[in-house]
């Protein structure tokens, strides 16, 4: 994942979500997003069955 890839994602997401990202903030947002992507890959790499239930339990 390059900085350009992340910037493209940030620009598209910001437009979709109605978020304004001042150019001065961009580097910090990209740095945070890069960490998030890395954390996401760590979690995604763990095999879980389709039947695995999420942790919170809703009681009707």
């Amino acid at each position: 994942m390059t900085d350009a890839d992340l910037d493209a994602y940030i620009d598209a997401s910001a437009k979709l979500l109605g978020l304004t990202i001042d150019p001065v903030w961009k580097d910090a947002v990209r740095a945070n997003l890069a960490v998030t992507v890395r954390m996401g890959a760590i979690v995604a790499a763990f095999p879980l069955p389709d039947e695995a239930e999420p942790a919170p339990v809703f009681t009707a």
Binding site: Y9, A14, P56
Partner: protein, 462 residues
Amino acid sequence: MTDLAWQSATETAAAIAAGTLTAQAATEAALTRIAAHDGILNAFTDIVGARALAKAAAIDADRAAGRPLGALAGVPFAVKNLFDVAGLPTRAGSAINRERPAARRDAVLIARLEAAGAILIGALNMGEYAYDFTGENSHDGPSRNPHDTTRMTGGSSGGSGGAVAGGLVPLALGSDTNGSIRVPASLCGLFGLKPTFGRLPRTRTFPFVSSLDHLGPLARCTADLAAAYDAMQGHDPDDPFCADRPIEPVSASLNAGIAGLRIARAGGYFRANLMPESANATDRVCQALTIDREVDIPEAARARAAAYLITTAEGAALHFDRLRARPADFDPDTRDRLLAGAMVPAAMVVQAQKFRRWYREAVLRLFESVDAIIAPATPCSAPLLGQKTFVLDGTEMPLRANMGIFTQPISFIGLPVAAVPVAGPMPVAVQVIAPPWREDIALRIARYLEVTGACVAQIPGE
């Protein structure tokens, strides 16, 4: 005369019950200390002096009339400013929330402490919306570490750490989503309790991550932690995550010792990324407990990653409208993390919640063969204010996100933890981790470490 600044909450309550101290004198002394020292420490954002003195007068009148006093009668305390305090807007460290109407009622935990006789003195500085481990805040200025005011208190309950370690009040409440009680307890050298997830109601506090938010006390001794915790227990239906469990007091068993408890040290993940002071503090606690066994908390790094994802995504969802409407009004450090959090794909968050259940079951299996686990609380003692990175095991890392690497995998599944301080040039704490709903075990071990002298909340400058 005893220096009231360093008198514990339970000592203060005992002196007031015995008639050797009045609640008014205890309250006035706290207000005087705050006026003298908070200009530097910057722990308080709000003082409720008139309210506190009125409450003190009522307690002194109760005693004079022979009416029974609560366990914390006359004890000054303060709360992180994400707790609702009647008459104040609940700012939660932000500028934006100051525009909210004043809270009409106190948070449930404030009401419970006051029902036990404690006296609310004010609200405490914190990182904006609780998304930090530093205690820094661009709106209110940083809370400063009483042991070295050029250093961080840790966060996000930074004012809670500074107020108690600085001798302003003996007891403070904080919140802990990923470590925000345990990190300031570590950097300020305090005892802290993060109870089991769902134990204490969060009703009328400003949230951060509903899936992970906990509340709890910080104090300079275990007896105070236990007394405050006992006074705050009990179900509240207005917090849907609050467990409907009976009150399980811990004060009576605090001195039960550690005989028969199987205690192990966390290995693997918890042995790496440690600066010498944190490694030494953990060694010292393990030696005091004569631990000869190590356990591996499985997949702790992945647990930390999953906690990170849930936090950033849920936190961003909470603040989404504000992020769209007025991003420039946020603390820049918080805003940039939340903007990135708003862009997290749902699949990542759902996978993190699925992993959370797997991890919970795996860790609970560990507790079939041990009763408690010892682990470091922070990678290091207090960094300098403004410091952005630190070097762990030869790698430079962002400090703000990585101070919680040892706390996050534990709160991720809601385990109760007592943070226990080890003295040094700058203090640093260690986590005593117990199975769910066994705060009593964590506090018994903390008490043992306290009475044997291995752990102490050192007074600044001593």
